[in-house]
């Protein structure tokens, strides 16, 4: 009695969803999770109709392993099984990482899986002795078994539990560090490279002095800031100026250079931050609204509503910021 199951990525997880169908030869869930059969491995086995085995005690030929369940923080195990071509369920929220990262793909790997992330899709088609039992009935005793299987897991020694607890916290910290470094390499450094090159050319070519003498004094006043902000907020310009905040970032950096030389007084820093950002997200309204699961009609009227609102709130933000910078610098 085998069922096809679907495994989704859990909170903070990556990869999947995996659709797995057990067969006569290949129906074993291998639990490689620091001793014992993990409840998730047991659950996978129960729902699919396979068997769960403890990977630390038993060794199996690769072609008999249906799913490998690991709790790997992102170095070895999470890559080993995908490399072998075995469906891998990682209990930790780890994405593509470690030396075997290139084998970790969403069609073979899913992470941060909890019990509620596993669904039964239906009976496996290639099983002959079917009694047409609905999947729901199958799931009910399975849940009891899972509960029964969880009981021995709780009897684990204090040291093991402490170890796992510490491991889980350390794993989260480690993963946070990995995400941070990835962010810095993929987004922050490339922007720095591009902007510092641009700034270098502007300052070394004498263009910087030109800006400092002509445009900067105009920008360095409240009316100047309001004009900049108003231009940025115009409904037909703001969606063009918005993408990736690239323009706001470049202008911010250019203004920063003017603040550094003193061409613009430091007290205008706060209004400037809002003046250059009147268009923030104006390019992204439809996508942002659909991320919030808005109806198509809401998007249709929502886009102009946001854009028109900015004509007022953009300059207003500059004025509020100007008031709030009293007493600073």
């Amino acid at each position: 009695m085998y069922n096809t199951i679907k495994i989704n990525a859990g909170d903070g997880g990556w990869g999947g969803p995996l659709t797995v169908t057990p067969t006569e030869k290949c129906h074993t869930v291998l639990s490689v999770t620091g001793g014992g059969i993990h409840p998730i491995a047991q659950k996978l086995a129960d729902l699919s109709g396979g068997v769960a085995v403890d990977g630390w005690k038993t060794n199996l030929p690769d072609d008999e392993i249906m799913i490998a369940v690991v709790d790997c923080g992102g170095t070895a195990r999470c890559g080993v099984y995908p490399k072998k071509g075995i469906f891998t369920v990682n209990l930790m929220p780890v994405g593509q990482s470690g030396p075997l990262a290139q084998f970790i793909t969403p069609d073979i790997y899913v992470s941060s899986v909890r019990e509620q992330d596993i669904e039964v899709l239906g009976e496996a088609a290639d099983v002959p002795e079917t009694k047409a039992a609905p999947a729901a009935e199958e799931a009910a005793p399975a849940a009891e078994e899972a509960a029964a299987a969880a009981a021995p897991a709780q009897k684990q020694g204090f040291v093991v539990r402490l170890g796992k607890g510490v491991g889980s916290v350390v794993g989260k910290f480690f993963q946070a560090g990995r995400e941070t470094i990835e962010m810095v390499i993929k987004n922050v450094l490339p922007f720095m490279a591009f902007t510092s090159t641009l700034l270098g050319i502007i300052s070394a070519s004498g263009l910087g002095n030109l800006i400092a003498k002509t445009i900067a004094p105009l920008c360095g006043t409240l009316p100047g800031m309001l004009v900049i902000c108003l231009i940025c907020s115009l409904p037909f310009l703001s969606p063009i100026l918005g993408p990736g905040a690239v323009i706001a970032q470049v202008v911010g950096t250019l203004l920063g250079a003017q603040f550094a030389t003193g061409a613009i007084p430091a007290k205008y820093a706060l209004p400037a931050l809002f003046a250059i950002d009147g268009q923030v997200g104006a390019d992204f309204v439809p996508v942002g609204l659909s991320l919030g699961e808005a109806e198509p009609e809401t998007i249709e009227y929502g886009v102009p509503a946001v854009l028109f609102s900015r004509i007022v709130t953009g300059p207003l933000a500059v004025i509020i910021a100007f008031i709030f910078s009293i007493g600073m610098f």
């Binding site: 450094l189 970032q249 203004l255 603040f259 929502g302």
Partner: protein, 172 residues
């Protein structure tokens, strides 16, 4: 010959200046940002986004919280662009206003919490770095940016909500 070498020198000097700027940013900004981001990302993982979502559902009824605390939580815990998914917790008629508030906070938050939108750090950092080059401290500016940001998103939320209601008044 002298002319050519002069041109070459001038050409190289463009990039020497750029290199100096880059070096200053990498040594001056990245180490602190990396540690801060790692710390905050760890906290977020320990708290778990589900707990935040449960809390977020409860506060959407109040207009003031809907355009201040809700976007703040969303941007802090989910970052740009996933923060907009919290829009699903608010009523359909408030969604454009919520989006406007959330998106307008993705830069003011970076002064204190760069993890939330590290890819667009330089809206804040560009200006802040200029002030630091001048020898000024930017901590106070970061706090004010954050506070004014909250005030601005509240006003934006309320105004966009009104405009949207006005535009759809015949439908309702």
């Amino acid at each position: 010959m002298a002319l050519i070498s002069k041109i070459a020198e001038g050409f190289m000097s463009l990039f020497t200046a750029g290199g100096d700027t880059f070096k200053g940013w990498v040594t001056g900004i990245i180490p602190m940002v990396v540690c801060l981001m790692t710390f905050v990302n760890s906290i977020i993982k320990l708290v778990g986004t589900e707990r935040v979502e449960r809390f977020a559902r409860r506060i959407t009824r109040f207009a003031v919280l809907r355009y201040t605390l809700l976007p703040l939580l969303a941007v802090f815990f989910l970052g740009n662009p996933m923060c907009y998914t919290f829009g699903r917790f608010v009523d359909e008629k408030y969604k454009p206003a919520y989006y406007d508030a959330a998106v307008s906070f993705v830069h003011p938050i970076t002064g204190l919490f760069p993890h939330a939108n590290a890819g667009e750090l330089f809206v804040w950092m560009g200006i802040a770095q200029g002030l630091m080059d001048k020898g000024l401290k930017v901590g106070g500016l970061a706090v004010r940016y954050f506070i004014v940001g909250l005030i601005v998103i509240l006003l934006r939320g309320l105004l966009t909500e009104r405009i949207y209601a006005f535009m759809t008044r015949d439908k309702a």
